[in-house]
C-alpha cells in the first residue's frame, strides 16, 4: 500500500492512458497483419536514505516510464510504404526533460529505383561529408543495375524532435542541404562518389560556442584493383565562416582533408595501411574528422597455424600541421599480440597476450606501457575467463608516474536439471594503483555471486546477483558498496490477442558507505513492468 500511496490520482490516470493507448490503436487498425505495435511500460519506486542521498543517481519516489513503437507496412500503387512512429513518456526528469516526446517519426515510400523519406532521414554520404541523421526529407535514385546512385537530402540536425518547438530541449539549429552522385566504373571495380553539403547554424544556445556556415566539396573513391585488395580514398575541401559571438566579426577560412586506406584480406593475412591528413582549418559539421591531424596507421593479422594468430599494429599521429604551435604533439602507438588456441591440448582453451606502447612526444613526454594477458577455458559445464593487466603511466615533469595492476576472474555455468536451467556465476576482481609521485597505494576489490534460473515450462526466468566492492585509498576517503539485484521475467502463453507479452519485476539494493559518514546513502528500488507486442 505504501507503494500505491505514492501513485497520485493524476499520475495513475496518465499511466493508465499510456498503457491502454497501444491497445486502442490495434482495435482501429484495419490491416493488422502489416502492423506491428510494441509497448513497454513500467513503474519504478525508489527509496533513497542516508545523509549523502544527494549523490544518488536515482530519483526518490514513484516514477513511470513508457516506450511506444508503431510500424506499418503496405502498398500504395507501385510503391511500398513504411510508417514508423516512436513515443516516449516519463515523469522522471533525470531520464528525460519532457513528459512526452517523439523518439522516431518516418515515412518511407519506395520502389526498386526511387526512395522517398520524410521525418528521420539518414542519408550517409561519406565519412567527411555527411554522416549524421536529419529531421527532414530525402530522395534516393538507384539504377536497376546499381551502377548509378543519386541522393538528395534536406533537414535540420536536431538531436530531438521537440527541439523544433520546445525551449527545454532547444539546440543549435543546423540546416543541412546535401547531394551526392555515385557511379560504378571500370566494369564495377571502382566506385566514384562526388558530394556537396551545405550547413548553416542558427540559434546560439551558449556563449562561446561558435556558429558555422560550412560548404563541403567531397570526392570518395572505392577501388578493388585486384581481388582481396580494397582501396578507399576520400578528399574533401571545406569553406567555412565562423561566428564566435554576436558582437564579433565573422572569420572566413578553408581547409582540406584527405584519407587513403588499403585493406588486403586473404588467408592467412589481413593487412591494413591508412594515411590521413586533415588541415587545421578543415571543418566538417555533418561528417567526421579531427582538424589539424596527420595520421598513419598499419596493422597486420597473421594466422600462422590453425592454433596461432599473431597481430601487430602501429599508429602515429601528430598535430601542428601549419607549424603555428610551440608544443607539437607526436603520438606513437605500436602493439604486438598473439592468440593461442587449444593450449595444453584443451579444446576450449584460448590464451591472448598483448603488449602496447603509448608514447606522446611533446613538451612533457608521455610513455605508457600496457600488458594484457587473458585466458578462457571450459571445465565440464563451467566457463572461466581470467584477465590480468599491467599498466605503467608516466608523464615527464612530475605530472604522472603510476603503475596499475588488474586481475579478475569469472566463472559462468549452465546446468540443466529436467525443466530447469541453472546459471550460477562468480566474479572476483582486484585492482591496485601505485602513485610514485604521491607515494600512495590505492586498492580496489570486487566480488559477486549470481544465480540465474530458466524454467522454460512456465516461461519464467530470473536472476539474483549479490556482491560487494571496496576502495581502500591511502590519501582520501575509503568507500564500500554492497549491492543486490533481482530480475524476474515471465512470458504468459496467451494473453488476449497479443503476439507476445512479457511481465517483469526488478528489485535492487545498493548501500554506499564512506569513511566520512555524512556521505553514506542507501538505494532501494523496485520496478514492475509489462512489454507487449501486437
Amino acid at each position: 500500500m505504501k507503494f500505491l500511496s505514492f501513485l497520485s490520482y493524476r499520475k495513475f490516470l496518465f499511466s493508465f492512458f499510456v498503457a491502454i493507448f497501444p491497445i486502442s490503436l490495434t482495435l482501429f487498425s484495419s490491416d493488422l497483419d502489416k502492423v506491428a505495435i510494441k509497448n513497454d511500460f513500467y513503474l519504478q519506486y525508489n527509496d533513497i536514505t542516508g545523509p549523502g542521498k544527494k549523490n544518488s543517481s536515482l530519483v526518490d519516489g514513484l516514477r513511470y516510464f513508457n516506450i511506444f513503437n508503431y510500424y506499418k507496412k503496405g502498398k500504395l500503387k507501385k510503391y511500398k510504404y513504411i510508417i514508423n512512429l516512436g513515443l516516449k513518456a516519463t515523469d522522471n526528469r533525470k531520464k528525460d526533460p519532457k513528459d512526452i516526446s517523439i523518439t522516431n517519426m518516418q515515412i518511407t515510400l519506395k520502389n526498386k529505383i526511387n526512395t522517398f523519406r520524410v521525418g528521420d532521414v539518414f542519408e550517409s554520404f561519406s565519412q567527411y561529408s555527411l554522416n549524421t541523421a536529419l529531421k527532414g526529407v530525402s530522395y534516393r535514385y538507384l539504377s536497376k543495375d546499381i551502377t548509378n546512385q543519386l541522393q538528395i537530402v534536406y533537414g535540420i540536425a536536431y538531436p530531438r524532435w521537440d527541439s523544433f518547438w520546445d525551449n527545454k530541449t532547444k539546440a543549435i539549429k543546423r540546416s543541412v542541404y546535401g547531394t551526392r552522385y555515385r557511379r560504378k566504373i571500370l566494369d564495377g571495380k571502382m566506385d566514384i562518389g562526388v558530394s556537396f553539403v551545405y550547413s548553416n547554424d542558427k540559434d546560439r544556445i551558449f556563449g562561446g560556442v561558435p556558429l558555422y556556415n560550412n560548404h563541403l566539396y567531397t570526392m570518395d573513391i572505392n577501388y578493388i584493383p585486384i581481388p582481396d585488395l580494397d582501396i578507399y580514398s576520400e578528399f574533401s575541401h571545406s569553406n567555412n565562416t565562423k561566428n564566435t559571438s554576436d558582437t564579433t566579426a565573422n572569420e572566413n577560412f578553408s581547409g582540406n582533408a584527405f584519407k587513403i586506406r588499403a585493406i588486403g584480406n586473404k588467408n592467412p593475412s589481413r593487412v591494413l595501411v591508412e594515411y590521413e591528413r586533415v588541415s587545421p582549418y578543415y571543418i566538417t559539421l555533418t561528417g567526421s574528422a579531427t582538424p589539424d591531424r596527420e595520421k598513419f596507421k598499419t596493422s597486420w593479422r597473421y594466422k600462422a597455424t590453425k592454433k596461432i594468430v599473431t597481430h601487430i599494429g602501429f599508429l602515429w599521429y601528430r598535430n601542428d600541421l601549419d607549424g603555428q604551435l610551440i608544443d607539437r604533439k607526436d603520438v606513437y602507438r605500436p602493439s604486438i599480440g598473439i592468440t593461442y588456441k587449444k593450449a595444453f591440448g584443451r579444446r576450449h582453451n584460448t590464451i591472448d597476450l598483448t603488449y602496447k606502447l603509448d608514447i606522446t612526444d611533446t613538451t612533457n613526454n608521455i610513455t605508457n606501457h600496457i600488458i594484457d594477458f587473458s585466458m578462457s577455458d571450459r571445465f565440464a559445464k563451467i566457463y572461466n575467463t581470467t584477465n590480468i593487466s599491467y599498466y605503467s603511466y608516466k608523464t615527464d615533469g612530475n605530472i604522472q608516474d603510476s603503475h596499475e595492476f588488474r586481475i579478475n576472474t569469472q566463472f559462468n555455468g549452465k546446468i540443466r536439471k529436467k525443466d530447469y536451467i541453472f546459471k550460477p556465476s562468480l566474479y572476483i576482481g582486484s585492482r591496485s594503483n601505485k602513485d610514485e609521485l604521491k607515494s600512495s597505494l590505492d586498492k580496489y576489490y570486487e566480488a559477486s555471486i549470481g544465480l540465474g534460473v530458466d524454467v522454460m515450462k512456465y516461461r519464467l526466468s530470473g536472476k539474483l546477483k549479490i556482491g560487494e566492492n571496496k576502495s581502500d585509498r591511502d590519501l582520501s576517503d575509503d568507500s564500500k558498496k554492497v549491492f543486490l539485484n533481482l530480475n524476474i521475467y515471465y512470458r504468459p502463453k496467451i494473453f488476449f490477442s497479443f503476439k507476445r507479452v512479457m511481465i517483469y519485476a526488478r528489485a535492487f539494493y545498493n548501500d554506499f558507505t564512506y569513511t566520512t559518514n555524512t556521505k553514506n546513502f542507501r538505494e532501494r528500488g523496485t520496478i514492475l513492468g509489462v512489454r507487449i507486442r501486437f
Partner: protein, 450 residues
C-alpha cells in the same frame, strides 16, 4: 627525435621477424584462378567492407528478402554459371546471370537461422573463383533496428560500468572514426580514474538507413573519483552512430559530451551536441583529473589545441569614477573565471583589472598587446603565446577592438584575451565610466598553445 627513430624501428623489426614466417601477405590478387568478382553486395552492403559474420535486423530486409548482387569476369572467357549455397556447400542454387557477368540472387531468410553463404563462379572453361573469399555467415534476428541499437547501448553501458574493456570493445567497429585503438586507451584511463560508474539513458531519437544507425540519447550519470572518492553527477544529450556488424549494431562514432572514453575526448569524439540540456558536464584532463565543464569549453578544447586544460569564456569589466572621489574597478581571475570588485586600488585580488582606459596586470601577472587578431601569427582561434615580452605596465583597453593580449601569471600559466568592444562615457561632473568586453582562454597546465 631519437625517441621517434626508436619507435619507428619497432614495426620494422616486427616486419622482418614475421616475414620469416610463412606469411604470404604480399600475394593479394595473385589468385591462381582467372575468375574474379568485380563487386559483390548483400542488400546495400558491400561484401568487402563487411566482416565474415553479419547480423541483420528484419528491418534491413527488402520486403522480407535478401539480395546478393554482383559482377564477375573471367578474362578472355565468359561466365557460364553462378552458384550460391546458403548451407555451407551442402546444396547449391543458381543465380540469375546476364551476358556481361552481372548476377542476382534473392532469397527469403528465416528469422534467427544462420546462413553459411559461399558463391561459386564458373567460367566457360570450367575455372572457378576462390570460394573462401565469398564466405559470409548471415543471421537475421527477430528484432527491429530500435531493439538492436538498444541492445548495443545496453551492452556498452554495462561493460563500461563493470570496467570490462574486452566486453566493451567487442561492440566497437574496427572503422570507429576516432580510431579503435585510441578509444581502447581512453577507456583504460577512464577505468583508472572512475569507480562505481552508474549511467542511465533513454533514446531521444533514432534513424536507420543502409546498415547505419544514428541515435540521440538523454543520459544521467554518477561517478566516483578513484583518486579521492568524490562523487560527480551530470546529465545531458549526446549522439552515437553505429554500423551493422558481427554483433548487430557496432559503435562507429560518438559526439561530445562523451559518456565513454572521456580521457581522450579530443581524439575520440567527432562533433558535439549543443543543446540547453548540456550545461555542466564531467570531463577528464590529460593528467587524469576530473572536472566539470560547459559544452562551450569542451568544444573549444576539442577544436583548438585539443588540450583538456583550457578554459574559455567572456567577461565584461567596468570602471567608474565615483562622485565621492573614489573609484570602482572590476577585475578578472582566469583560474576560476570570476569577476571581482576592486575598490580604490584594492590590488592583489585579481589577475587583470580595468582602470580608466587601460588594463592593469595584477597580483604579479604580466601582460602584452600582441596586435590585431588575424595579423601576423596572431589568431585567437589557433595560436601560441610568446614566452617573452611581458610587462607589468598597463595596455590600452578602450578603443582597441580585436586586439589580442597575452597574459603571463605568476605560476607560469598563460591566458589570451581578445578585446571585443568597449564604451567610454563622461558624466556631468567629469567622472569617467568605461566598460570593456573580452573573450578569453586560459590554460591551467602552463602550455603555450591555444
Amino acid at each position: 627525435m631519437k625517441n621517434r627513430f626508436k619507435i619507428l624501428l619497432f614495426p620494422l623489426l616486427l616486419f622482418l621477424v614475421f616475414t620469416n614466417a610463412n606469411a604470404k601477405w604480399w600475394i593479394f590478387g595473385h589468385n591462381e584462378s582467372s575468375v574474379n568478382i568485380n563487386y559483390l553486395y548483400i542488400n546495400s552492403l558491400s561484401f568487402d567492407s563487411t566482416k565474415k559474420e553479419i547480423v541483420f535486423s528484419k528491418d534491413s530486409l527488402d520486403n522480407g528478402y535478401l539480395h546478393i548482387r554482383g559482377k564477375a569476369n573471367a578474362g578472355n572467357s565468359n561466365i557460364a554459371r553462378v552458384l550460391i549455397t546458403l548451407d555451407g556447400k551442402k546444396t547449391w542454387k543458381k543465380a540469375k546471370l546476364t551476358r556481361d557477368g552481372a548476377f542476382d540472387f534473392s532469397f527469403e531468410p528465416k528469422i534467427d537461422k544462420k546462413y553459411n553463404i559461399y558463391i561459386q563462379i564458373i567460367d566457360t572453361t570450367g575455372k572457378t573463383n576462390d570460394l573462401e573469399d565469398t564466405h559470409k555467415i548471415i543471421t537475421i534476428i527477430n528484432k527491429n533496428y530500435k531493439e538492436i541499437v538498444r541492445n548495443t547501448l545496453d551492452h556498452l553501458k554495462t561493460s563500461y560500468s563493470n570496467e570490462d574493456l574486452s566486453g566493451f570493445m567487442r561492440y566497437v567497429s574496427e572503422d570507429f572514426t576516432g580510431d579503435d585503438t585510441t578509444l581502447e586507451l581512453a577507456l583504460r584511463k577512464d577505468f583508472n580514474v572512475f569507480d562505481n560508474i552508474q549511467i542511465d539513458f533513454t533514446i531521444n531519437s533514432i534513424a536507420y538507413q543502409g546498415g547505419k544507425y544514428l541515435v540521440s540519447i538523454s543520459f544521467n550519470r554518477t561517478l566516483e573519483s578513484s583518486k579521492d572518492g568524490k562523487v560527480y553527477s551530470d546529465k545531458g544529450i549526446t549522439e552515437f552512430s553505429f554500423i551493422d556488424g558481427k554483433y548487430g549494431a557496432m559503435l562507429y562514432s560518438m559526439k561530445n559530451p562523451l559518456i565513454f572514453g572521456l580521457s581522450d575526448a579530443q581524439e575520440v569524439a567527432d562533433g558535439s551536441v549543443v543543446s540547453v540540456s548540456n550545461e555542466k558536464l564531467i570531463t577528464v584532463n590529460n593528467s587524469g583529473d576530473i572536472s566539470e565543464k560547459s559544452i562551450a569549453d569542451i568544444i573549444n578544447n576539442t577544436t583548438n589545441s585539443g588540450d583538456d586544460n583550457i578554459e574559455s569564456g567572456s567577461f565584461t569589466l567596468s570602471y567608474d569614477d565615483l562622485p565621492s572621489g573614489g573609484n570602482q574597478h572590476k577585475g578578472f581571475i582566469f583560474d576560476s573565471g570570476t569577476i571581482v570588485d576592486i575598490s580604490n586600488f584594492d590590488m592583489g585580488t585579481s589577475d587583470i583589472f580595468l582602470e580608466g582606459n587601460v588594463f592593469w596586470p595584477d597580483s604579479g601577472a604580466q601582460i602584452q598587446d600582441l596586435g590585431v587578431d588575424g595579423s601576423g601569427n596572431v589568431n585567437f582561434s589557433h595560436m601560441s603565446v610568446p614566452t617573452t615580452g611581458y610587462d607589468t605596465q598597463p595596455v590600452a583597453a578602450t578603443n582597441n577592438d580585436d586586439h589580442v593580449y597575452a597574459v603571463k601569471l605568476p605560476n607560469n600559466t598563460y591566458a589570451i584575451v581578445k578585446n571585443i568592444s568597449s564604451t567610454t562615457t563622461t558624466d556631468t561632473s567629469g567622472g569617467l565610466h568605461t566598460s570593456v568586453t573580452c573573450d578569453y582562454k586560459y590554460r591551467s597546465d602552463g602550455g603555450l598553445d591555444f
